[in-house]
């Protein structure tokens, strides 16, 4: 029963890996496939592999995938440009043929009656596996340790990077800042802070320069790239609006009727009471 619930889910998720654009979504779909596989192992009398599958695959390997994805940029989505012409179509045809051959071939084989693991698992699955692992497969087990050490050292060697330039000190950074000021006129102090209007405490509003233009450097580059920066002239219209309404509401001091809110949604804008 478990199989007929999990098998379609696994196939759908595995197919999803082929079609989703973002690598993170592929990793999550792969996690579903791996956890389903763990349950299939549990159904097939392999409780040790059930635990190992969840701990090693879903816990360690997939987390490693996500970790590397975060390091090299999550939004690096797949390009759809084909380097070799017709490769995708050929791969799909090949896959269909390969899958058909495998499935037809397997379904024509009669596997005979299932012996079952009741006898082999009689003293418990983990002791039974340990008995075989440390007797018949002990050399393979020892070789595994050599493999794991090689992998760990290899990963360290590959990920290690020698520092080619000396680490910048506070003194050298200060000197660089002075040099930038002398050569290009970059500001010596910190960049102007955003959101300097009393009515709005968000960081998406640029500061205004003395001549009335917006200071681009006062808003984070990330917000500028997302296009969520509010324009200063539109904001000035807002201020005029507020002024007009305040003039109309002269003597009426209920803060809830103030048109603008600061930071938290629905909370009265305390800063505007000072305008009056």
């Amino acid at each position: 029963m478990t199989f007929w619930i999990l098998a379609p889910l696994m196939v759908v998720c595995a197919l999803g890996i082929l079609f989703v654009r973002k690598a993170v979504h592929a990793a999550l779909l792969l996690a579903v496939v791996m956890i389903s596989l763990a349950f299939l192992y549990a159904v097939m009398d392999a409780p040790f592999l059930f635990a190992v599958q969840i701990i090693v695959y879903t816990g360690a390997i997939l987390m490693l995938f996500l970790f590397v994805m975060m390091l090299i940029g999550v939004d690096a989505s797949d390009s759809v440009v084909e380097t070799i012409r017709g490769q995708r179509a050929m791969a799909i045809v090949l896959g269909l043929v390969f899958g058909a051959v495998l499935v037809i071939g397997i379904s024509q084989v009669t596997l005979g009656t299932v012996v079952g693991l009741e006898e082999a698992n009689a003293g418990g699955n983990v002791p039974a596996i340990a008995n075989i692992l440390f007797s018949k497969y002990v050399f393979a087990f020892e070789a595994t340790s050599a493999l794991l050490i090689t992998a760990a050292v290899g990963a360290m060697v590959l990920a290690h990077r020698e520092r080619l330039t000396p680490k910048p000190t506070q003194r050298s950074m200060a000197a660089q800042r002075m040099r930038d000021f002398a050569d290009h006129g970059k500001p010596l102090g910190p960049l102007p802070s955003p959101g300097v209007y009393a009515r709005h405490n968000a960081v998406d509003t640029p500061a205004l320069l003395p001549d009335g233009t917006a200071a681009e450097s006062s808003v984070s580059r990330v917000l500028a790239a997302r296009g969520t920066v509010r324009s200063a002239p539109a904001l000035a219209d807002d201020i005029d609006d507020v002024r007009r309404q305040l003039a109309g509401l002269e003597g009426h001091s209920d803060p809830a009727s103030m048109p603008e809110t600061s930071g938290k949604a629905g909370s009265p804008a305390n800063t505007e009471e000072d305008v009056k």
């Binding site: 199989f3 098998a7 196939v11 595995a14 197919l15 890996i17 082929l18 690598a23 592929a26 990793a27 792969l30 496939v33 791996m34 596989l37 392999a46 592999l49 190992v52 599958q53 090693v56 695959y57 360690a60 390997i61 995938f65 590397v68 994805m69 390091l71 090299i72 690096a76 989505s77 797949d78 799909i92 896959g95 899958g99 495998l102 499935v103 397997i106 084989v109 596997l111 299932v114 012996v115 079952g116 693991l117 006898e119 699955n125 596996i129 075989i132 692992l133 497969y137 393979a140 595994t144 493999l147 794991l148 090689t150 992998a151 760990a152 290899g154 990963a155 590959l158 990920a159 990077r161």
Partner: protein
Amino acid sequence: MTQYVVLSAILFTIGCVGVLTRRNAIVVFMCVELMLNACNLAFVAFAKQHGNLDGQITAFFVMVVAAAEVVIGLAIIMTIFRTRRSASVDDASLLKY
């Protein structure tokens, strides 16, 4: 047990097509993992079929080798990304010329 082996074959094929079609090196790696997992499923199914635990031991060893392979592979991907600012398998074609 046949249905388990058929599912294993289907998953293996999907992983295979994924390796051939996807461009992102990390997704290619995930498809390799999918193929290894499909093999493990077949091993465990045959262990039950034949009533001995050698298949489960083999699946265990496959998991160990897969862990080592992922560690090295992801380190290589990171190194390539560091020098070429790309995780696409088609960009690493320097040996071609």
